[in-house]
Symmetry: D2
Amino acid sequence: MRTFECDYTEGVHPTILKALSETNMVQMSGYGFDPYTVSAAEKIKAVCNAPDATVTFLVGGTQTNMIVLDLLLAPYEGVLSPKTGHINVHEAGAIEFTGHKVLALRENDGVLDADALEAYLTTFYADATHEHMVRPGAVYLTHPTEYGTLYTKAQLSRIRALCDRYDMKLYVDGARLGYALGCPENDLTLSDLADLCDAFSIGGTKLGLLCGEAVVFPKEAPKMLLSQVKRHGGLLAKGRVLGVQFDAVFTDGLYEKIGKEAIRHAKRIQKILLQKGYALAWNSPTNQQFIILSDAEAEKLRAFVGFDLWGRADEGHWIARFTSSWSTTDADVDELENTLPETAALMQS
Amino acid sequence: MRTFECDYTEGVHPTILKALSETNMVQMSGYGFDPYTVSAAEKIKAVCNAPDATVTFLVGGTQTNMIVLDLLLAPYEGVLSPKTGHINVHEAGAIEFTGHKVLALRENDGVLDADALEAYLTTFYADATHEHMVRPGAVYLTHPTEYGTLYTKAQLSRIRALCDRYDMKLYVDGARLGYALGCPENDLTLSDLADLCDAFSIGGTKLGLLCGEAVVFPKEAPKMLLSQVKRHGGLLAKGRVLGVQFDAVFTDGLYEKIGKEAIRHAKRIQKILLQKGYALAWNSPTNQQFIILSDAEAEKLRAFVGFDLWGRADEGHWIARFTSSWSTTDADVDELENTLPETAALMQS
Amino acid sequence: MRTFECDYTEGVHPTILKALSETNMVQMSGYGFDPYTVSAAEKIKAVCNAPDATVTFLVGGTQTNMIVLDLLLAPYEGVLSPKTGHINVHEAGAIEFTGHKVLALRENDGVLDADALEAYLTTFYADATHEHMVRPGAVYLTHPTEYGTLYTKAQLSRIRALCDRYDMKLYVDGARLGYALGCPENDLTLSDLADLCDAFSIGGTKLGLLCGEAVVFPKEAPKMLLSQVKRHGGLLAKGRVLGVQFDAVFTDGLYEKIGKEAIRHAKRIQKILLQKGYALAWNSPTNQQFIILSDAEAEKLRAFVGFDLWGRADEGHWIARFTSSWSTTDADVDELENTLPETAALMQS
Amino acid sequence: MRTFECDYTEGVHPTILKALSETNMVQMSGYGFDPYTVSAAEKIKAVCNAPDATVTFLVGGTQTNMIVLDLLLAPYEGVLSPKTGHINVHEAGAIEFTGHKVLALRENDGVLDADALEAYLTTFYADATHEHMVRPGAVYLTHPTEYGTLYTKAQLSRIRALCDRYDMKLYVDGARLGYALGCPENDLTLSDLADLCDAFSIGGTKLGLLCGEAVVFPKEAPKMLLSQVKRHGGLLAKGRVLGVQFDAVFTDGLYEKIGKEAIRHAKRIQKILLQKGYALAWNSPTNQQFIILSDAEAEKLRAFVGFDLWGRADEGHWIARFTSSWSTTDADVDELENTLPETAALMQS
């Protein structure tokens, strides 16, 4: 049976592979000046309803966060992030590598606590010695979050208002953005993100590309963008690799379809997990589903199906993750339904 | 009346000023190759009982923390610090400027919680994805802490043992070290610090020098030390300025005397504060004394005496700081005793 | 007619595309732990005759130079490079971004002048104040060079000897390495590079991959390699993208064949250029051929064939580049032969 | 006899020492908020005829160059410097430490060749790929230069015009500025520097202070100046140390007098050297005088007088430096005149 470990275990969506194959021997300029990259940027601007935006393409998620934040922030500024934010935990210090402090704040199932944000800012500016501290220059958040949870438009608008009040940029890391957009619970459109953010990324790697993240700067284009990307080691000679892929995935609503389909599968997976007696760690509306397993259960369950031991819940228990993706099929989920033992039966197996 | 705001409101201890004056027109080599700098280093090695140590002199406290940690850490490593540690809060991001993440841990009145440290390390290395996270390469702590509190030799030894187990360096920031050494409650000698640490600083600025921190590397000398210090902007052309001052303050036990005297004054100040009815924010055995004042009390009290509004206790209350130093006299404390109103009387004044 | 502008105007070699397609729906672990990446590394170790080597895969050339040098150098060290070296001119400051100075030396048609190197080192260490200067910690060079020229084994051995004498690392940037290996004039094998270098790269992007550079550390593996690569933004979630491609190109001698074929075409191109009366800017034995054109000639010639205006020769003249690559066919060169006007006829056209 | 090795072999000018002593026990605020620092800044603004300038004080020369350039430049920009510029040679990579490339240009006896500067900029912007290269964001020069030579107002004005044309900042490192200002050949006033520069430093360390450089930003104040200085490790707790010294040296024209007196001595030294038959390496109008000595002569001469072996002229010859300073007396120069052997007699001695 296929593993449900994560959403980047396969290569590339067949439609995108076809686009790569068909354009393969066409000669094109390098460094993103090819027509496919230009077209992809135009399609993204259209779907974001942001005609004045600047769109660029980078290879990976950590690289994207590192570069975008380094371009948004003044050298001496730090970035506010939920404590569980990818940049604060799982990027091997890439943000600090570029000289910026990550200022970690309280969160709830991965969602930045806007009260904690407001309290931090009020306290910071009330402190007479705040020039000895790191000025918060941006807010970073992920949508969906590392916990698969979502911001509402109201929450993001409140954070935007705080950014305006305290002269900060807002950056949304959308490494799995397609899985939020495909979700009935989600009320944040690409157009909303373009309205509310100074920058956001549209993840490709986890949505069926070989690699690639699109970055949208809806308002102000960073100065010397190509030069800055190259300085960070992020410029591809064959920019077409990203351009052709993003052009294909933003044609005929493919990005949207991929997200919707994966969410349909995720809802079934959640239902199956619950029916079989597994306890959700928390309620994730998106493509990652999290359950609690005892160490012994986790050990047993691995014989039946591939999943991710995502983290420790407490001593004796794991949080396990089941993920749907662009590559999940109905047959995969059917097989899961047939194979997955009920919790009651698991320890007898 | 003199202010008790902080311990760097005056210039330089008269004995040190005399040394500067007397050596003023002697021609000496630059960059720390003068005989006074050499002598100061020897005296410090002797008092630390560390004949193989390397001792160098830097100008300021933040500079010292930035340089020492950047030299101790591999480029990709971070430093564990109590959440309230100076490097985590009050150095404007100088550690991140050099590319290192500060990994903040729970503390108790400024003292790093060794249980939290151990739990962090156990969890970190149990996580299969820890190479995606920042490797903790050193532990940073201050003695005395930002709260005026002290580590015991037992506590520091336990932290050292954890450093050994997890291949980390231990660095003690001693910006106010003399005020710990002069304290009856303190059981950590310079010799103990040389035994337990990979590096520690001996603060001069707050102990009566114009400026200057001595740094002791008891075991391994950093490679290319002069070059690295210069690269960080920390090398003085007239190294003598630091050499002469540290040579003087480590002659005839002056450093020790300064610490002891200031602590004697601090104990009296604490007693006076308590007698007059003020509530300690916590019990600091060293030269900084912290009390709780309501906003109204703080406002009133400023008419009587100079102190520092150190931080907020909660909405409506300040933590106020009274500091003794190398420059405090018996007459200063007598005047405080005579002038300070009792809490009961304060709001009627 | 196809352009001869550069060697990355097409996508991916058909054999590699086939490998990507055939493995596309196979589920694999991320971050380079998939079997194809492991296999590719083994094949490269074998062909380099370096069983103890560490091999890793990165996305682009500037990223590779930035990461490899930052891992080889101590933070305070700089890197010696020919003045025309890619890191010194065309990487938008990526080396300085990681804190290292590029120390530029005299070169001859792109080849580092070993006399200049030796003189630099002798002078440097004879200078009593050299600790105020940047310690040279590595030598960087490209093979073939930016001018398409080659190092001999004797030259590289001499540079290695200097590295040994002065405690420096040697890194060879092989962005176009396949085109050197395919060249009859070349006497440096992969095995020689493994003997002589501390690190070298084997370029993929310009040899028919979508993207990707292999990096070989023949002797000492860098500490915490995955973590360091991620910290620089260089870690791919779908490491398979690089693994499958390099596994394919190092199967059945494909890398070697690609290089040889392109060189065969380049020799014909050179011959055609000379026969038609064009003057070589210098003699390049590899896949890039450089000629001198007056501004008027350059303008005229663009109507006949695509080439690169590589740089200015002097006021009034260009250096123009014609490049063969993995994608060049006999038919392409035939067409060039038929189309390219003789210099005498060019200005009448 | 006193050595003429360099201009920082003594401590502090007696008038400044007096000021430090007299203010020593006055309690003042830290971090540059004391009245002496404020007064010093006002006096400097007045003497520079720059009422809108921002003036700040740093400890050392390398620190000053590192901080000022990092504040003037965008993160991705480099700085143009004469090849012999202090930042390019003798700062252990401090500029690259902050991420900026030093772009070295041809010079004549230390003076940036404005033709080379113009040619560089013209070529740079004519290159279609210049976004792959480091954008020149500032010009750095020293006045007087490392060779003791001077820029004319016409030269500096031409460089300013190029800065305007190519959107660059101009920074003059005045580590020895007082010795230029005291020179009859100099036609650049402090007021001219304020007109022409975006920032310049007024050196204290070499002009009789214990340590300290004043930095003037005549036009635009850097954002978050205190915070940025602290982030670079440059903020002094006892800012008074710099404030009192600069206040004293800018009182009653002391800075000017120090410069003039030292130049008077330097002119005599030059005359003595020439009369005794020594050959100038080049003509320096300021406080550093450079002569050529054979290795044997250098060895002999050291028995008579202290000087600096500044660098190699060629194999077999040194460039030797004799320096006057704020501490040089007529008696010192008389003694030099009496003691220095004639070249003819030197090898017989």
